[in-house]
Each structure stands twice: as structure tokens, then as C-alpha cells.
């Protein structure tokens, strides 16, 4: 039995969990842990703000599928991380957050840099812990990794009092984790799988509605197999993009508030909606009673609380998406009643009808003169990266244009704050992804508003050799809110004009990065090419049409068929 300090034990435990990188910011309460970090090969990425640390860990997790790790100090260090923790929670991202805490004897005393972070993060973590006993230290961290990465994933926070970390403990041997109260179910119920497959056999106008669960469970292959086997159109939520190839003829792109005309029409006319790892979010469904009104609904989800939460489900399958889709594919392969060719023929009129909608109202925009349209910028980024880049986004118009005009063919290539909608997510998440895949092209598609929310992380990117590319779609407005004001508030632009915006080209230089600017359409491609050709961190400042909007748009509370088109 080896004796060691709590700090050394934590590091040893992180190594056992295969942690090779963590993102953090030091402080008094975690100084022991930082001291122990010097003696390991775990890479610690020093960020410039704790929100950036957790977003970077989250970006790392989304890009790799592994657990991201962040290390924050007590009090303000921990509270600065809360927005990013809530971001990971809303999108079910596996992150373990270690926070320092004041020594046990001071807890509850309003000590310096003390805050009840376990209380604060209770509603925005999958689970959290305060380690009260040094002997619980290692088992708790093991449990945290286990909970974060299994079932419906999510962030888990472990609060570490300074004296617990400084104490001497005996390192406990690794055991298989078995928790009495937490046993996520992966395998689908065979009876439900059969019911679902039989419903698909009967359907004339099936649509697959795919969410982030497909990406989290790495089920993109199984999903593509099912879609092609039964020959059904596929639409994705923001979180589901890349779960099915965006260039596949069966892909309708995104649905919902800013979804494609064809996707929203297909759902509205469908007679069977197969929801896979999606949760019927209000941005997807619009007015609930008008959502998929003619369809029976099959819902595959690992989280029973997602089922029949917003929309009544006819055939629920509580299971891991991958396992459920595998079972469904196997069922069709074995079934005497199913023939892939016959299914394709049967659904062809439906697929043709949907294709007609796509042709009639494709995602588009009106080019005027030589002004830069943001959609064109995204299209060119798509073209010049061959659709292979890892794209992160901020939140707002930039996010929607990225989702609409970049054709994601692979999972884990769009990292975006879908559920919480956190401006400032894109840059730190891009750093996390770039640290995981140094050879990949990582581009943060940003707005001039949201990039400023975590702009300090440029220094992090520079210090740690994460030369990501930032494409700012600069309209000098908080564009999405401005668009709502234009459409629904009589063009009263309250607090949306960004009267002062830094010179992003000069700002890039100040951080030792490359700054490029395009003011006309002709300059867009050369700027992107130059950015992709340099090894350095780059900010591309695209001065875009100031009042361009995101369309189609379903006004909040309306049916998804009531789209405002371009």
C-alpha cells in the first residue's frame, strides 16, 4: 500500500482514467494540486478565464468522445466556471470539473474565496460531490468519471477542500465501479424494437429526426445504415448535425426554427417520425400541437425523462441509440416481410415529394452588389475545407448560418452550444478541439458580439500552440436579437448596435496572431485561403451585410410550417 498526498492521489487517479490533458486556472485552494501537476506528464492548459477552461474541456470532449477535465480554484474560480458547466449539462457533454474548496474547518464560515459550489451547481451538473473524507477522495473521482461518461453523459463536479487534498492517504486499488443507485440501461427492449420496426414497415411517409444522442453514442454508421435500408429522409437538430452525412441525398439538413423548408414540411406531413437521441426542444417543435400532427412517434433515448416530456410518444425505446439502431437494423435484415428494394420503391414518391420542397425552397440568400453575405462566407469555408474542418460556433446568427451552410458529413465536427446557447463558447471550445487534434483544421465561426465574450482565450491559443482560425461575421450588431427586433419589435433596435467594436485585425496582432479582413465578396476566398495556409492563429474579420437575417425562420410559438422565407 503506497502512501501519498491527496494531490498525488488525484493525479494518479486521473492518469488511471486516461487523462492526458486538462484545462484550468490556479488559485490558493488548489495550489497543492498544481504543485503535484509539475511531476506528471498530464498537460495542463492555462486559460485566461475559468469559463474558458470548462468550455475547452467541453470542446475536447465533444471532439474526441472522451471525458474533458477542468481544474478551477474555489470561490470565484468555481463560479466563473458555472456558465460553462451549464452549457455542458444542457448538451449532455461528459466533463469532470475539479474545484478547490476552503479547508473543511472553514466551510460555512464565509471564508476567503469560499462559495457553496456544490449547492450552486446542483441543478446544472449530472451529479456533484464535496469530498469530506480523505479516504473518499479517489473513489469519488472514479465515480465522477464513471457517471460523466455513462448513460446520458453530463458534467460532474468534485469539490476538494484544501486540507483533504493536502492530507496523506493510502491509494486504494482500482475496482470495477458498481453503484446501487445508478445503473444506466443500454440495451433496447426487443418487444419495443419489433413494434418500432413494424411501424416503419407500415409507414408511407417516414422521417428520421436525429439529435445529439446519435453523436454521443457514436451511432452515425448505424443511423445511416437504417436510413438507407428503409430509404427515408433524415433531418437533424443542431446537435445532430454530422450524425448523418449532410451531402447524402436523403439529408434534409436541420429542422426547427431556422431549419430548412423541406425538413419542416416533411415533419409536418410525415406519418411516422422516428426520433433518435433528440428531445423535442421548443426550438425544434415550434407550436407543439402543430408538430408532426399526422405522425406516430417512435422515440429512442437513453434518458427516460426525455420520453413523452413535450410530445406524446407512441413507441418509446429507452436505450443507447447505437444499441437500439443496431437491433433495428438486425431486425430488418432478418425479417421476411422486409425487402430493402421494395421499401425504397414504396418510399420513393415520398422522397420525391420532399426533394420537390428542397428544390422549391432551398437554403439560399440574395447576393446584392459586392457586399459580403455571411452565408457566402460559410459556403466558401465549407468549400475550401472540403467539409472536413472541425467547426465551432458562438451563438446567434453566426451559429445558424454555420449550421445551415456548412455541410457536416462527419460526427463530432460541429461543436456548438445548442441547449444553453452560450455566447463565448466557440473560441475556447475550438482550443479544446485543436489540442485534441493538432492536425485538424479548427474554425470558430463567430459574430463580433459573441467573440468578445471570451476573446481573452486568444492568449491561451497562442501560448499552447492551438492555431485555430476565427471567422468573425462582423455586422456591428448583436445580430440575432436585432433580427427579432426588426421582425417583431418594429425595428426598435434596443441595445443591439455594437457602437464600439475593436479593430479585430489589430487585436489579432496584439496577441501575436494574424489578422485578416475582407470588405468585399471578392476578398472572401483569398482571406480564407490565406488563413488556412498559415500555421499561426488567425482572426478573419468579414465585414458583412449589416442587416442580413437568418431564414427560414419560424416565429416563436408558431407552427413550424409557418416559416418566413428568404
Amino acid at each position: 500500500m503506497t502512501k501519498m498526498t491527496g494531490a498525488q492521489a488525484i493525479i494518479k487517479c486521473l492518469k488511471e482514467e486516461n487523462v492526458s490533458i486538462m484545462f484550468g486556472f490556479p488559485g490558493g485552494a488548489v495550489i497543492d494540486l498544481y504543485d503535484a501537476l509539475l511531476d506528471t506528464d498530464i498537460k495542463h492548459v492555462l486559460v485566461r478565464h475559468e469559463q474558458g477552461a470548462v468550455h475547452a474541456a467541453d470542446g475536447y470532449a465533444r471532439a474526441t468522445g472522451e471525458v474533458g477535465v477542468a481544474l478551477l480554484t474555489s470561490g470565484p474560480g468555481a463560479t466563473n466556471g458555472v456558465t460553462a458547466i451549464a452549457t455542458a449539462y444542457a448538451d449532455s457533454i461528459p466533463v469532470v470539473i475539479l474545484t478547490g474548496q476552503v479547508p473543511r474547518a472553514l466551510i460555512g464560515n464565509d471564508a476567503f474565496q469560499e462559495v457553496d459550489i456544490v449547492g450552486i451547481t446542483r441543478p446544472c451538473t449530472k451529479h456533484n460531490y464535496l469530498v469530506n473524507d480523505p479516504k473518499d477522495l479517489v473513489p469519488t473521482i472514479r465515480e465522477a468519471f464513471y457517471i460523466a461518461s455513462t448513460g446520458r453523459p453530463g458534467p460532474v463536479l468534485v469539490d476538494l477542500p484544501k486540507d483533504v487534498v493536502a492530507s496523506t492517504i493510502t491509494y486504494p486499488e482500482k475496482k470495477k465501479i458498481k453503484m446501487q443507485t445508478y445503473q444506466p440501461n443500454y440495451a433496447p427492449h426487443p418487444g419495443q424494437v419489433e413494434k418500432a420496426c413494424k411501424a416503419i414497415l407500415k409507414a408511407k411517409r417516414p422521417v428520421l429526426y436525429v439529435g445529439g444522442g446519435v453523436i454521443l453514442s457514436n451511432a452515425n454508421k448505424e443511423l445511416t445504415e437504417l436510413a438507407e435500408k428503409i430509404h427515408a429522409p433524415v433531418t437533424m437538430t443542431l446537435m445532430g448535425l454530422g450524425g448523418f452525412p449532410g451531402t447524402n441525398p436523403l439529408s434534409l439538413g436541420m429542422l426547427g426554427m431556422h431549419g430548412s423548408y423541406a425538413a419542416n414540411m416533411a415533419v409536418a406531413k410525415s406519418d411516422l417520425l422516428v426520433a433518435v437521441g433528440a428531445r423535442f426542444d421548443d426550438r425544434v417543435t415550434g407550436r407543439l400541437d402543430a408538430f408532426a400532427p399526422h405522425a406516430d412517434i417512435i422515440h429512442i433515448d437513453i434518458d427516460p425523462t426525455s420520453i413523452s416530456k413535450n410530445v406524446k410518444v407512441d413507441i418509446p425505446i429507452v436505450a443507447d441509440c447505437k444499441a437500439a439502431l443496431e437491433s433495428m437494423n438486425a431486425w430488418f435484415d432478418k425479417s421476411a416481410d422486409f425487402d430493402s428494394k421494395a421499401s425504397a420503391e414504396k418510399h420513393q414518391p415520398w422522397v420525391d415529394e420532399v426533394a420537390e420542397w428542397q428544390k422549391k425552397h432551398p437554403l439560399t440568400y440574395h447576393q446584392k452588389g459586392d457586399i459580403i453575405k455571411p452565408q457566402y462566407v460559410v459556403e466558401m469555408i465549407n468549400e475550401l475545407t472540403g467539409g472536413d474542418a472541425i467547426i465551432t460556433t458562438e451563438v446567434g446568427q453566426n451559429q445558424m448560418w454555420a449550421a445551415q451552410f456548412y455541410k457536416f458529413n462527419k460526427p463530432r465536427h460541429l461543436l456548438t452550444s445548442g441547449g444553453l446557447g452560450t455566447m463565448g463558447y466557440g473560441l475556447p471550445a475550438a482550443i479544446g478541439a485543436k489540442m485534441a487534434f493538432p492536425d485538424a483544421t479548427v474554425i470558430d465561426i463567430a459574430g463580433d458580439g459573441s467573440i468578445q465574450m471570451n476573446i481573452q482565450e486568444l492568449a491561451t491559443a497562442k501560448q499552447w500552440g492551438a492555431p485555430v482560425k476565427i471567422a468573425i461575421l462582423n455586422n456591428n450588431y448583436l445580430g440575432m436579437v436585432r433580427q427579432w427586433q426588426e421582425l417583431f419589435y418594429n425595428r426598435r433596435y434596443s441595445a443591439t448596435p455594437m457602437e464600439i467594436t475593436p479593430d479585430f485585425v489589430e487585436l489579432a496582432k496584439a496577441y501575436g496572431a494574424v489578422g485578416l479582413r475582407a470588405r468585399t465578396r471578392d476578398e472572401v476566398v483569398p482571406v480564407i485561403k490565406e488563413a488556412l495556409a498559415t500555421d499561426n492563429l488567425v482572426i478573419m474579420d468579414f465585414v458583412i451585410d449589416r442587416e442580413e437575417g437568418v431564414f427560414p425562420m419560424v416565429p416563436a410559438g408558431k407552427a413550424t410550417t409557418e416559416m418566413l422565407l428568404v
Partner: protein
């Protein structure tokens, strides 16, 4: 519809606030809540009375089950069950009402647990309907203070 849920959860710091936080955060309503250790000191049993449509109750049950510290959730009002609540009532008892209060308490099989020259404190146990009845009868005489435990409940054993 009123539902009585029985929730077994780990007897850990913070476990109870996970349950109450879930209710406040999701806008579910708690009519009463009672919690104490079970035979196993590592486990607490929480009896919770709530109201809502079936879909809401289904969500409550699933969301409770999703909490890592929760072992088991049973909607015991789905089957046969016994429920009890205890109430302590300090009721005015002056010379002309003392005898009447004692008679009422006796009818309800209550007990006097504290006496003063002007009041009795009485203890009554029973299902919610009985507690309501005794309060209604004592109210005109003058209730000075009332403390209720909230409902606890147990499913009836199968008869065969």
C-alpha cells in the same frame, strides 16, 4: 390528482436538497414532505405528496429516479396504501370549554400532551381527512398553534 410518492434515497448530505431543488427548478408542486432514516441507516425514506396531471406525475417520478442519490421511487397511491399524519394542536381551553375540548379529543382518539391554565396541546394521528375534521371542529373553539408532520404512507401488503 393527488399522488403520494415514496422515495428511498441515500442518507447523504445534500440528497434532500437534490429532491427539493428538482421540484422548485421544474415547477412541480410539493404539498407535504416527510423524511427520516429507514432500518438501514445509510438510506432515508421520503414521503412526498404532490398534485398534477398524469403526465406531470410521470415526469416527477422519472426525474426523481434520475437523481443519482435516489434508489427507488414508488407512486404508492397507485395501489392500496395506508397513510398517516400527526398533528400537534394548541387549542384554547378556558373554564367553559375545557371539558368540551377533552371530549372532542377523545372522540378522535387524541391525547393531551401539554396543559396550561388556558390551553391544551393535543396530539392526533390519522389520515389527512381525519386531521382536517379535527381542525374544523376545534377551529371555532380557538386554535392557537398547529404543527403537522406531513403525510407518511406505506403500501398495503398483498392479501394472498
Amino acid at each position: 390528482m393527488k399522488h403520494t410518492l415514496s422515495v428511498l434515497l441515500l442518507n447523504k448530505p445534500g440528497a434532500l436538497s437534490r429532491v427539493t431543488g428538482l421540484f422548485s427548478g421544474r415547477g412541480f408542486n410539493i404539498e407535504s414532505l416527510s423524511v427520516a432514516e429507514t432500518l438501514d441507516p445509510k438510506v432515508s425514506c421520503l414521503t412526498l405528496v404532490t398534485r398534477g396531471q398524469e403526465t406531470i406525475i410521470e415526469q416527477i417520478t422519472k426525474q426523481l429516479h434520475k437523481l443519482i442519490d435516489v434508489i427507488k421511487v414508488t407512486d404508492i397511491s397507485e395501489g392500496e396504501f395506508v397513510e398517516r399524519e400527526m398533528v400537534l394542536i394548541r387549542v384554547k381551553a378556558e373554564s367553559h370549554t375545557r371539558a368540551e375540548v377533552l371530549r372532542i379529543i377523545d372522540i378522535f382518539r387524541g391525547k393531551v400532551v401539554d396543559v396550561s391554565p388556558t390551553s391544551y396541546a393535543v396530539e392526533i394521528t390519522g389520515p389527512e381527512s381525519k386531521i382536517k375534521a379535527v381542525i374544523d371542529i376545534l377551529r371555532p373553539i380557538g386554535i392557537k398553534e398547529i404543527i403537522r408532520t406531513g403525510t407518511i404512507a406505506m403500501a398495503r401488503a398483498p392479501k394472498k
